[in-house]
């Protein structure tokens, strides 16, 4: 009886391992991209990310889509004057946001885009983020800012969850 029970558990483990191997062999690129932070908008939005050739052409014509940016690049971009833009709701922003980020929720964009454009010159590099994992708000805000004339708009797709999970500082607004 004990041997049968042990065999059932062992075979259950084999089935689990088989499923993991099949899943990894089909989705290995996605998993590697997730662990290396290379995930682009293509995988989560079903839209074409800028190809290297198109990115080279950006000086000549405006980009159609915001450019994905990695966690590792954010500090350097901020150092060179990039502005972080939080596309989540004001409540989420107050509960915790990236240092130096400005709140620009997608739902309030119609009212706040004008003052934003007046305050920040079109040459400013903008990094938009929201709640990670294909959260569409950062992408949508990024497209609207491109349409408003900003030439260098990036989307940090890892967003607040990746930043927080990396143990990086989070700013909370006083209630």
């Amino acid at each position: 009886m004990k041997t049968i029970t042990r065999r059932i558990w062992f075979e259950a483990g084999i089935i689990f391992a088989l499923g993991v191997v099949v899943g990894l062999s089909i989705n290995i690129q996605l998993v590697l991209d997730a662990f290396s932070g290379r995930l682009t908008l293509e995988s989560s939005h079903g839209v074409e990310s800028p190809s290297p050739s198109r990115m080279n052409d950006q000086a000549l014509e405006p980009a159609l889509f915001p450019i994905p940016v990695l966690l590792a690049d954010i500090r350097e971009l901020q150092r060179t004057g990039a502005l972080l833009v939080d596309a989540r709701t004001a409540e989420s922003y107050d509960e915790g946001h990236l240092p130096g980020a400005l709140s620009l929720p997608l739902g309030e964009l119609d009212d706040r885009l004008g003052p934003f454009v007046n305050e920040f010159p079109k040459e400013t590099t903008l990094i938009i983020y929201c709640s990670g994992f294909g959260c569409p708000d950062s992408f949508d805000v990024g497209v609207r800012l491109l349409e408003a004339g900003y030439g260098d708009v990036r989307v940090y797709e890892g967003g607040f969850p990746e930043w927080r999970d990396a143990g990086l500082p989070v700013i909370k607004e006083a209630p």
């Binding site: 689990f16 993991v20 099949v22 990894l24 989705n27 969850p161 990746e162």
Partner: protein, 141 residues
């Protein structure tokens, strides 16, 4: 085993197998959307959500297929029972934390099934898996 017991066994096996084969296939069809659903639980670090989303649907689908094929029924039912228990633990933390997220049980990125409802459904699935396991054991004894 009586004829009614035999019918019950096949009913449970096919229902459980069909349920998990369907759940596995629809989730494997959109791994990124399922990763987002897993991430909504806020239990795992960023990249691990993708690892779970890339593998678990295939485990579910293979175990479900084995049940439908009436092959390695007890290991497959045991595995699905353990996985259902893990899902229930995750859903329990969602209920305790008062979060309002979609359980991500079937169609990733579509619809909204509350954690409490999903938890209730998982109790039924767990009982179904345990019943399948027991009936198969009785058949072989």
């Amino acid at each position: 085993m009586s004829r009614s017991g035999l019918y019950l066994y096949h009913f449970c096996r096919l229902l459980l197998g069909g349920l998990f084969l369907y759940a596995g296939v629809v989730k494997a069809n959109d791994v990124s959307a399922f990763a987002r659903d897993v991430a909504n639980y806020q239990l795992l670090p960023y990249a691990w959500n993708y690892l779970v989303a890339a593998t678990f649907p295939y485990v579910e689908a293979i175990a479900g297929l084995l049940l439908i094929l009436n092959f390695r029924v007890r290991p497959a039912a045991l595995l699905l029972a353990v996985m259902t228990l893990v899902f229930m633990l995750a859903l329990g933390t969602v209920v305790v934390r008062g979060m309002n997220i979609d359980c991500g049980c079937f169609n990733p990125g579509q619809g909204h099934t509350s954690a409490a409802l999903a938890l209730l459904r998982d109790v039924g699935i767990l009982l179904l898996a345990l019943l399948t396991l027991r009936l198969r054991g009785r058949m072989l004894s």
